[in-house]
Amino acid sequence: MRVPRIPTVRHGLVRLTTVLAAAGIATILLAAPARAGGVWIQVTPSSVTAGYQTKIKASCQDNTNGAEVRSKAFGTVTVQPENGLLAATVTVPASLAEGGYDVTLTCRTGSTATTTMWVLNREYSEDGYMPSKHGPHTGGGFLAGAGDSPAAQVWLAGGAGALLAGAAFGLVSRRRRAPARTR
């Protein structure tokens, strides 16, 4: 009579795991297309110095046809099929102001995806932000034994010693003289 009970428990467990695993798989199946097979756009590198090139990689559901990518940074370009994705190389104009620029992919189906490209533009000229050929002053000389020169320390110590000695001598001589006056 006891024997059938164990299979029942086991059955319950099996059913429970099956339901849980099935739920898990359903979640993956629902979530996966949004990430893996969805519509996305990527700029590599996504920070770029004005005047230089960067690469756009993108994906629509169907990557056999090109799609349009727009940005205030470079206008409109067409990303073309390449290794199962869509790709294009763009040059960021040298005069473009520094900052973040939206880059938007528009697929033929109408779906869109947007990313941000960060443009760096500092005037690296002699009058601008280019440092001179002189390296930074990052040493004071302590490790070379040259920081506070020994001479200075000798002067300081000697001077302080002389001052103390002078003060002490002054005090002593005043005390010696003082009793003589009261008498």
Binding site: Y124, K133, G139
Partner: protein, 193 residues
């Protein structure tokens, strides 16, 4: 049998999920997760702390500009314990070279980068940024340049990758305007954190 397969699949999936949520590396995962995280480091953000484990450095970083002679100004910290980030260059993690300068010593004490010449190729450097993200760099080389041959073109001419350049003083003590005769520099390239 079916339930076993489902359980195994479920475990894998949960593993990927946890990996993506925590940023820990998992066996697979979808490329988007890594992609998104990489992109965020391209956003400008000033660095706050630099960590060089191999020489025991963990130091505060403050923004610095140019000194009167056109050189990158080291931080105005009399103890030389903080590093300076050249604020007119890229942020650590952005394309191009982020430059950090630090004292080898001051007049009174050893500075934040006094062991910079002990850094070796392959060492890891982490830079924490004010946006609470961390850029990690692997050391490519440690080199010495005469004080008046600071390699500006090499530093500011390469925008192809995200790099980090650390600068301090080194070589013979000359004194006067020059101080030490050379600059010791560490060149590193960004790696996934």
């Amino acid at each position: 049998m079916v339930s076993l397969a489902l359980t195994v699949l479920g475990l894998f999936a949960v593993g990927i999920g946890v990996g993506q949520l925590t940023g820990l590396p998992s066996f697979g995962g979808w490329p988007n997760a890594a992609r998104a995280d990489t992109d965020r480091l391209h956003r400008p953000s000033a660095p706050s702390v630099v960590v060089i484990g191999s020489i025991g450095v963990r130091a505060e970083v403050v923004p610095v500009g140019l000194a009167e002679d056109g050189s990158i100004a080291p931080p105005r910290d009399s103890r030389g314990a903080t590093a300076g980030w050249y604020e007119h260059g890229p942020s650590p993690g952005q394309s191009g070279s982020a430059v950090l300068v630090g004292h080898v010593d001051t007049r009174e004490a050893a500075g934040v980068f006094h062991r910079l010449d002990e850094v070796r190729e392959g060492d890891l450097i982490q830079v924490h940024r004010r946006d609470r993200r961390t850029a990690a760099f692997r050391v490519d080389s440690v080199e010495t340049f005469p004080k008046n041959e600071f390699p500006v073109k090499r530093i500011f001419g390469d925008h192809s990758r995200a790099r980090l350049v650390l600068v301090t003083c080194g070589g013979r003590w000359v004194g006067g305007e020059t101080g030490y005769a050379d600059n010791v520099m560490v060149f590193a390239t960004r790696v996934p954190a």
